[in-house]
Symmetry: D2
Subunit: 139 residues, 4 copies
């Protein structure tokens, strides 16, 4: 497995539900932020720049499998450990482990693809092979 | 005052905070939805179409003043009564009254403007005079 | 398989991201709303009442597996078809199919449990066997 | 005016709307986080502890007036400068200035109150005079 990047989250009052714990879709919101943070921390330029130079417009999510082991509440600081588990031809598997200190709270495994707009079709998205230079940076 | 359009919201568990009541930024999220719903209900085409025919890209919010009178919780159905209080040259004042039955929970007064991208400057937004035909439709 | 209940969602501008499509955690937020709506539509009382009579405080999510097949954007109306695929001793598998007309956009499979606070431990949650009367109502 | 505390926000992709800019209710979500952070940074204990020792359950928002001067987008870091402008008998006025570097993006003025549950009425909230020791800490 390649590099791991860590993204920090401070849980806010408004992230929690009437049971007093994090409303679970917020964990997925934070995983999405950590997915993008991973690429920036590995040295990729911001998407806006990447779009201009390579046509890549993003890494949309195709699938996510998430397990919830422990809850969290406001005032706590969490750390999301993000890495790429596997690079396939047209997709990659990204793993997020959300920890509070040594405790694992939540784990997510995503399947994502790099996509472009096909020439002349601004309304469509098409997966492209993972660029070799990006893969090398995140190695 | 002109037309009033009503937008319905069913409060969900995840809209509420650890105090068991609606987390207040959600009221503003719903007012934004009701602002757009107002124009659609008055007969304007979807923004995507309006952009193609008139260049108008939206009605960004310049200012909002909101009062919270009563709280709400999940399982409740709310109704947002939206109207335009005043049309000025380049801005308009939109009012939202959020009710649960006869009770007024929250009121918001917004200042918004119709904006376009100035020719040759796709990254900028510029307010334009309120188009007479839109004003007539919403009258 | 037992009953299917349908929950309607009107996609708002603010539910969408800079790519112009629904930001994916919102799909999970809507699945959570549909999960609760399923039980209410099958005839269970609101959780607040259920808590008083049975001690059950909710059905927290243990695991969710979600696939994204097509995107959605604002102005569209979606329908979430929710059912229980399987009742096990202490957990149940709930399925959500999010459709726009005949198109399947997204499917989610959740593992949830009915939980109570163990006597004298208000800060803890404990899974209980799925109550037979609830299972019968949702059958 | 008393102390100013600064709360940092890194704008995420999912905080932005189809116009590519922060969806405005998120600014209010961050102001709420900064309001609570202000009290913690001034030395108050977490609400959960404050509730046990004083009965105070929070500082609900009664009114907010917000102006939007400039937009923000993902990848940017913002700083919210929060202070109490005025202490009145039963309410206080809290000001939030959201800056990106030297630019002021958004300002919010809130009216909030310290509330307790009246004895024997767990379902109600009642404003109390601002406690002198809290006022001194935040001075």
């Amino acid at each position: 497995m390649g590099k791991t990047q860590v993204y920090e989250v401070k849980v806010q009052f408004g992230d929690c539900d009437p049971a007093g714990i994090v409303f679970f879709p917020n964990f997925l919101r934070w995983m999405d932020a950590s997915s993008l943070n991973f690429f920036m921390a590995c040295g990729l330029p911001p998407w806006r720049e990447l779009t201009r130079t390579t046509g890549i417009v993003g890494t949309p999510l195709l699938e996510i499998h998430t397990k919830f082991l422990r809850s969290a509440t406001y005032g706590e600081t969490l750390h999301i450990h993000t890495s790429v588990e596997e690079w396939r031809d047209k997709v990659f598997l990204q793993q997020h482990l959300i920890r509070r200190g040594d405790d694992l709270l939540c784990e997510g495994r995503e399947t994502r693809a790099f996509v472009i707009h096909p020439p002349g079709e601004p309304g469509r998205l098409k997966a492209i092979p993972v660029p070799a230079d990006i893969r090398a940076l995140c190695g």
